[in-house]
């Protein structure tokens, strides 16, 4: 049985114009999200995970700042990159919506939260203000805000961080979108609040059969929430795998390194943590061959001169590495150096 594809990104490139020339923040990124699936995008700062998600909604200034290449196919028919400005505005919030890391800066401080949710509803649906407000109360109730009929009249500053993120989720769900993009929605929250928000997103995903793209740097969150994961490094996808293969059978040396460098709750405390040597190079100075080669313990001449493609290696897993098979066999060695 083939699950239905909700969104398919094909060879997406996002170029930014800067003072010093063109910078390609997202370079040849292809992936898809199925209906009702939670896809994780993982990577460290500067890997292009947020730019990818914002490119899907075309949030950057296309006149002066950014140039897109590739295709973003929604529901097997529409190419989002070919839509006009007005059509794109119709799709945003209605078909695809987004929540951000910092809810306070995404909410308007001088309008009540009820009005802001109702506004989203009125923009896309032909409803009266009263109906929209009633719907806003329902959305707040759905996201677990206590006494929502009172809370609709609150301003963002009157709410805590967790509550604000619930309001953002309520707003993004108001028009029943098919796809929710969540860009580090729990990074600014405390762990006990984070677990509440993760439960909420999982619940919404199941209840409305809604596709979710969840962007995070936290592998623990990925393990709890996601069905499938793409790992990004320096503007490219280096590995794609389902959640079990990602943790139990990682193929790319970067993925392996990431998983091993986090401290575990049951790890040996006397042992040193695994380290990925060096730092991420800048986008203006991308290595010629494999982008991870300068930090990779397995890199050879081929890696330094030729850039590998993302290729399938069975079981739905894809990897961008010349030597993935050989490295996978050398499991013991990798662990020995950690």
């Amino acid at each position: 049985m083939n699950p239905e594809k909700l969104l398919e990104v094909k060879r997406l490139r996002t170029h930014f114009k800067t003072e010093t020339g063109r910078v390609t923040a997202v370079d040849d990124v292809s992936f898809h999200v199925n209906k009702g699936e939670i896809l994780g995008i993982v990577g460290e700062s500067g890997c292009g995970k947020s730019v990818t998600s914002q490119s899907i909604l075309r949030l950057f200034d296309e006149k002066y700042l950014v140039k897109y290449e590739g295709e973003i196919i929604f529901k097997n028919e529409i190419d989002l990159l070919k839509l006009s400005k007005a059509q794109m505005r119709q799709a945003r919030g209605n078909e695809i919506s987004m929540i951000f890391q910092d809810p306070l800066s995404s909410l308007n401080p001088v309008l009540t939260i009820g009005f802001q949710i109702a506004e989203a509803i009125m923009l896309h649906e032909n409803t009266s203000k009263e109906e929209a407000m009633a719907q806003a109360v329902e959305m707040l109730r759905l996201t677990g805000i206590p006494s929502p009929e009172k809370r609709v009249h609150d301003y963002p500053h009157q709410l805590s961080g967790g509550m604000r993120q619930r309001v953002m989720i309520a707003m993004s769900l108001a028009c029943k979108p098919r796809l929710l993009i969540a860009d580090e929605p729990t990074t600014a929250l405390d762990v006990t609040i984070q677990s509440q928000i993760l439960d909420l997103i999982e619940d919404i995903n199941k209840r409305f059969d809604m596709g979710v793209i969840f962007i995070t740097h936290d592998l623990g969150v990925v393990a709890e929430l996601c069905d499938r994961v793409v790992v990004m490094y320096l503007g490219q996808i280096v590995e794609e795998a389902d959640i079990y293969n990602l943790f139990e059978n990682p193929k790319h040396p970067y993925t392996k390194g990431l998983i091993q460098s986090i401290p575990h709750m049951d790890g040996d405390r006397e042992e040193e943590l695994h380290v990925i040597a060096g730092t991420v190079p800048s986008l203006e100075n991308v290595p010629v061959g494999c982008r991870f080669a300068p930090r990779c313990q397995f890199a050879d001449e081929q890696c330094n001169s030729q850039a590998p493609e993302l290729r399938g290696i069975g079981d739905g897993q894809k990897v961008r590495c010349w030597h993935a098979e050989q490295i996978a066999e050398r499991k013991e060695e990798v662990y020995a150096t950690s």
Partner: protein, 341 residues
């Protein structure tokens, strides 16, 4: 450089744990008056109760982790010990002297021995100074060594924390986050301190850089025989680095225990909930989370009795009235909760 005796540091820690108390914090309290309230002369002026009656000890050579969620007072605790913030009440006995009563001259001497590493390495480094002069400053302030030896000492510490000699003349903006944190650590270590207060030193860093800095902190501790007060919100990081952990909630220390004892056998209901909320990077483990209802109450007006009773699943009438005393349940494992009376 003081050469630490080359005893394996694990042995050293074991031995140290029993006797040498380096810092004894007793009843530390910090209330921040709320600005702008009309009744400036009123004695009952409202205040944020950031830290209330917190006591703990730091043993020589150990790492004491302080965890809790935002607003629990863990950073304020760390900062008052350096007197970057003046405490409202309490004592902090360092080598027989109360830091909170020291004159500014005495305090300067103490601050040579107690150093601090901050969360954001960028805003804690002067952007107009080169790394060399940033690192020399502690030597000048504390008149350590001769002037002509300073460059050598700076080079020495740079090499120890993994910076290159040619970076001596660079400015902070030329470094990545991880390297800046190395500079922050070098600046703390160059004065040869006994105690280093680390305030969320790895929170702003990416995972692959975070592990480099954690390893470096551990290595430096062995080399310089340091004691760390490690303040952080990431429990798996704190667990990895600490010998003992204190858990704070709303300005109160609710539980203190040796690391393994705390992780395997948490006693306080808040500690249990906090640990159960930590996401585990293993997709096969689906844990039952202990969901806490509601949010942390305002520290302007903390609940009477046990501060946790408004969210505690086991709260009784007694919890609403009586503040629980800290009691020792196992060696070194203390908890402040009426469930264990």
């Amino acid at each position: 450089m003081r050469q630490a005796e080359m005893a394996p540091d694990r042995l050293l820690k074991e031995g140290a744990r029993q006797e040498n108390v380096l810092l004894d914090v007793q009843g530390l309290t910090k209330h921040f008056p709320v600005k702008g309230s009309l009744d400036a002369f009123n004695r009952n002026r409202p205040s944020v109760k950031a830290v209330s009656n917190v006591s703990f000890q730091l043993f020589e050579g150990e790492t004491f982790g302080l965890v809790g969620e935002s607003g629990c007072g863990k950073s304020t605790t760390g900062r008052t010990l350096m007197r970057l913030i003046e405490p409202t009440e309490g004592k902090a006995i360092y080598r027989g002297k109360n830091i909170f009563e020291q004159s500014s001259k005495e305090l300067r001497k103490t601050r040579e021995e107690i150093q601090m590493v901050f969360q954001d390495p960028y805003s804690s480094l002067n952007p107009r100074k080169r790394i060399g002069s940033i690192l020399q400053e502690p030597l000048i302030i504390h008149s350590i060594g001769k002037r002509n030896e300073h460059t050598d000492r700076v080079m020495d510490i740079m090499q120890k924390v993994g910076l290159l000699p040619e970076q001596y003349y660079r400015f902070p903006h030329e470094f990545s986050g991880g390297q800046r944190q190395r500079i922050g650590l070098a600046r703390a270590l160059i004065a040869n301190p006994k105690l280093v207060i680390c305030d969320e030193p790895v929170s702003a860093l990416d995972v692959s850089i975070q592990s480099q800095i954690i390893n470096l902190l551990k290595r430096m501790q062995g080399e310089f025989n340091l004691t760390y007060l490690f303040v952080a919100h990431d429990i798996s990081v704190v667990r990895h680095i600490s010998d003992r952990i204190g858990v704070m909630y709303l300005g109160n220390m609710v539980e203190v225990a040796p690391t393994d004892s705390l992780i395997q056998n948490p006693l306080h209901p808040y500690t249990k909930a906090l640990l159960s909320a930590v996401p585990i990077p293993n997709p096969r483990i689906k844990r039952e989370r202990i969901a806490l209802k509601g949010e942390i109450p305002s520290p302007l007006n903390p609940p009477a009795g046990c501060v946790f009773h408004t969210r505690c699943p086991f709260a009784t009438d007694r919890c609403k009235q009586e503040v629980p005393e800290s009691r020792e349940m196992a060696p070194g494992h203390t908890v402040a909760c009426h469930l264990y009376d």
